[in-house]
């Protein structure tokens, strides 16, 4: 029959143990309650085995005692126990030391089934997690640490508003103060490309023009972010600007300064770093992409173009295509859309062409060769792409008109007999006509029949 009974030992009288027990029950209960309330920074349970267990037994010299693995509990809740290292005889005068506190009784089995005495389990609190200190059996987080949501470790921040830590409280890394209340929110950096007047793209600049821009870094609340290093890259869209050829195509450049260094500085206190976009001579749609650490990439479009050009409308006064249906002056895979002028130039062209058809060369049409490309700019001709310009054909105010020559393209050409009339009529239209050709001589260069002869008319 198993009997539970307090027994007085030689060195620890049962009365003292009873007192300790009562004291423990009285003290632990309110402490436990406090822990439950999470109000004092206490941990409910240690995160790992924090107690060592010792076993006392009724020490009767010469007796053989075997002990089962002890089971431990704390306030009737199971807790882990370390295996007892005690085996055999031991002094029965173990003191409650090192802050050891009595927890509960342990009932062991005596080998013969007849308990020779009683067994007490003493749990000794041997340590607390980081940033906690031991107060009796209770681990209490040290200021400013607080228990985490599992109440097994101490963490920082809970004494500060959300997403803040430290003394004094500061936003955690990648967090910024929440302007709408206490605490911090995750920082989202926005990078934009703007004009110096803070307007947003797409932007337009003339061929060979310079555009003053800036990269701006702000957080989600519109607050400037200083010290951000911005990197830029530029690309130009194939086929844009009227150029069907793209090999070795020049593109615009970005530089921090108009001349010299092209490396951008970090953003200033306004979150800005300025740069210039230098357009190439050839028109085209450019994309500037800006990046910075922690920012979402930004891009903007810069159209390098001459505004206001329009296609020369079809008219009975002139021909834009030859009889075979080919666009006059078009070169496949290079420039196939070559008939753009300003509105004012088109008006003058039509009046000039009408005079040509009415009086200079009755019933004849002018055969219109290159004017400008759709966005103006460099109209590269010759054997070196992107280099040799078709001079004066970048602004929508000039056009070539086929003139009689020794080359293959004489369909619709202005006959030599009316060259003077063409020049005179052009002058009366506030325009300037000049013959251009190759292979002539100074002074009378185009009065023979040289190659590629044409009238170049500036309106």
């Amino acid at each position: 029959m198993k009997v539970f009974a307090f027994r007085v030992t030689g060195s620890i009288p049962p009365v003292l143990l009873f007192i300790v027990l009562c004291y423990s029950v009285v003290m632990i209960t309110p402490i436990t309650i406090v822990v439950s309330a999470h109000a004092s920074g206490n941990l409910v349970t240690p995160p790992s085995l924090q107690y060592s267990v010792s076993v006392w037994t009724h020490c009767i010299p010469g007796t053989i005692v075997s002990y089962p693995t002890p089971t431990c509990s704390l306030q009737n809740e199971p807790i882990s126990c370390t295996a007892s290292t005690w085996a055999g005889l031991a002094p029965c005068v173990a003191a409650v030391a090192g802050g050891a506190v009595y927890i509960s009784n342990y009932y062991g089995n005596y080998a013969g089934g007849n308990p020779p005495g009683y067994t007490n389990v003493i749990a000794a609190h041997i340590g607390c997690p980081d940033n906690a200190q031991s107060i009796g059996l209770i681990c209490t987080c040290t200021d400013p640490y607080v228990p985490d949501s599992t109440q097994t470790i101490c963490v920082t921040g809970n004494n500060c508003p959300v997403n803040m830590s430290g003394i004094p409280c500061a936003c955690n890394t990648d967090y910024v103060p929440d302007p709408n209340g206490p605490g911090c929110v995750y920082q989202t950096l926005t990078l934009t490309i703007e004009s110096i007047y803070s307007t947003k793209g797409p932007f337009t600049t003339l061929p060979n023009g310079i555009l003053a821009l800036k990269a701006v870094v702000k957080d989600q609340f519109g607050l400037a972010k200083a010290g951000k290093q911005v990197t830029l890259s530029v690309d130009v869209q194939s086929g844009s600007g009227g150029h069907d050829h793209n090999e070795n195509r020049p593109k615009g450049e970005t530089c921090a300064q108009l001349f010299g260094v092209c490396t951008l500085g970090a953003t200033d206190s306004s979150g800005e770093t300025g740069f210039s976009f230098r357009a190439p001579a050839a028109a085209g749609e450019h994309t500037i992409t800006a990046t910075c650490p922690g920012c979402s990439a930004a891009n903007t479009t810069v159209n390098v173009k001459l505004e206001g050009l329009m296609p020369i409308p079809a008219s009975p006064l002139y021909a834009l295509q030859d009889l075979a249906g080919n666009v006059i002056g078009a070169i496949k895979d290079k420039h196939t859309d070559n008939h753009y002028l300003t509105g004012a130039a088109i008006k003058k062209l039509r009046i000039f062409a009408q005079a040509y058809q009415e009086t200079v060369n009755p019933e004849a049409k002018l055969y219109l060769n290159d004017a400008s490309l759709v966005w103006g700019g460099l109209f590269d001709v010759g054997s070196t792409p992107w280099k040799s310009p078709h001079i004066s054909h970048g602004r929508g105010k000039s056009i070539d008109i086929r003139a009689e020559n020794s080359g293959p393209n004489n369909e619709g050409a202005v006959p030599t007999t009316v060259f003077a009339e063409v020049s005179i009529e052009a002058a009366k239209a506030h325009s300037k006509a000049a013959l251009h050709c190759a292979g002539g001589q100074i002074g009378t260069v185009c009065n023979g029949i040289p190659d590629n002869r044409h009238f170049h008319v500036d309106f």
């Binding site: 058809q357 001079i391 251009h436």
Partner: protein
């Protein structure tokens, strides 16, 4: 004060006679013997190689223009011009231009524009112009409405269809509802077809800028009677007088009228305008008549242009030694305009 308006080209020639350097070797040089310009330029921006061409200006002429104007039917004013080329001219005249013709002339049609841009529309436009613009034989007239310009050119300048040295050509004309003012006319001679053996001077080069300036001013400017004063509809004598007065004020800068004489006329203009505003036509008419008398003191025959003669300004300067307060052409124009006001207000005769 005669023809002080004249010869932009001369000024331009002086302006141009220097090296406009941008790239080494580029420039424009005037040959004082021939009057021609040698243009040296870089024809390829990727090369330093220089090219040359010759520019023969169209200003080697000695032009005179005589304007006449008379009242036609239904308020229409008939304008006629005679153009002469002096015996010293080295070129024949191939262009006669009148600028500042702001309002359409009688019979002028709008230039066809989409969607009405058909062959028939252009034919109708051309036929209307031919009827509206009188041209000498072998010449044709045209209008550049956006530039407020009427001009005449020979049909075949290469076949001697020009006004040669020592000759006068009459028959340029048109009709308008606008009263005459004094405006610019331009004459140019038969130069040579300008040409380049390549693409021409590099864009934005100084030499091209100068060359363009030279070509843009390649003509000789003379004063002519040009329809410049719109008659208000419905007719309002006060408003028309104000417009005539405004036109007269432009003559001061053109040195066609003495500022003191202009101020003297201004006072009478104001009195006439006030009288017409106050519905006192007789008083207004008296003031207008006073102005006409003042003009007549300067040029006794200022009202002679009413006849359909073709006498030009040159022949009208019959009192060359006399200092006058107003140019003869300006006097004729002003007298004509004031007489028009009187006619519209009830006749020229004194009440």
């Amino acid at each position: 004060m005669k023809t002080l308006y004249k010869l932009f080209a001369g000024i331009v020639a002086m302006t141009i006679s220097f090296y406009a350097l941008a790239y080494p070797g580029e420039g424009i040089v005037l040959d004082p013997v021939t009057g021609n310009y040698t243009i040296t330029y870089r024809g390829d921006p990727n090369s330093t190689e220089l090219s040359q061409t010759l520019f023969v200006p169209a200003t080697k002429i000695d032009p005179t223009i005589r304007s006449s104007f008379r009242m036609g039917e239904k308020g229409v004013i008939v304008y006629r011009y005679a153009v002469s080329n002096g015996t010293t001219a080295k070129q024949g005249i191939v262009g006669v231009v009148l600028d500042q013709v702001v309002d359409p002339i009688v019979g002028e049609l709008p230039f066809p524009s989409p969607p009405n841009e058909t062959k028939a529309a252009y034919d109708a436009y051309s036929a209307a112009l031919k009827a509206a613009i009188a041209s000498p034989a072998g010449w044709h007239g045209n209008v550049h409405r956006d530039d407020n310009r009427i001009y005449w050119v020979p049909n075949s300048p290469m076949r001697n269809g020009v006004i040669p040295a020592g000759r006068t050509l009459t028959g340029f004309g048109f009709s308008s509802l606008d009263l005459p003012g004094v405006g610019p006319s331009q004459m140019d001679g038969m130069g040579e077809v300008f040409s380049f053996s390549d693409e021409g001077p590099v864009e934005d080069s100084a030499v091209l800028d100068e060359l363009n300036r030279l070509r843009d001013n390649d003509f000789i400017t003379l004063a002519a009677a040009v329809p410049m004063i719109a008659v208000p509809a419905p007719f309002d004598a006060a408003v028309l007088l104000e417009r005539i007065q405004t036109q007269m004020h432009t003559w001061i800068a053109m040195q066609l009228i003495d500022p003191a004489f202009s101020a003297q006329l201004d006072r009478t203009f104001q009195s006439a305008i006030s009288a017409y505003r106050l519905n006192q036509p007789k008083v207004g008419k008296k003031h207008v008549q006073t102005m006409r008398e003042l003009i007549k003191k300067e040029h006794a025959d200022a009202d002679r242009e009413d006849g359909n003669d073709e006498r030009g300004e040159k022949s009208y300067h019959d009192d060359k030694d006399k200092h006058t307060m107003i140019d003869k052409l300006a006097a004729r124009v002003l007298d004509f305009d004031l007489k028009y006001v009187m006619k519209r207000m009830g006749g020229e005769k004194d009440d």
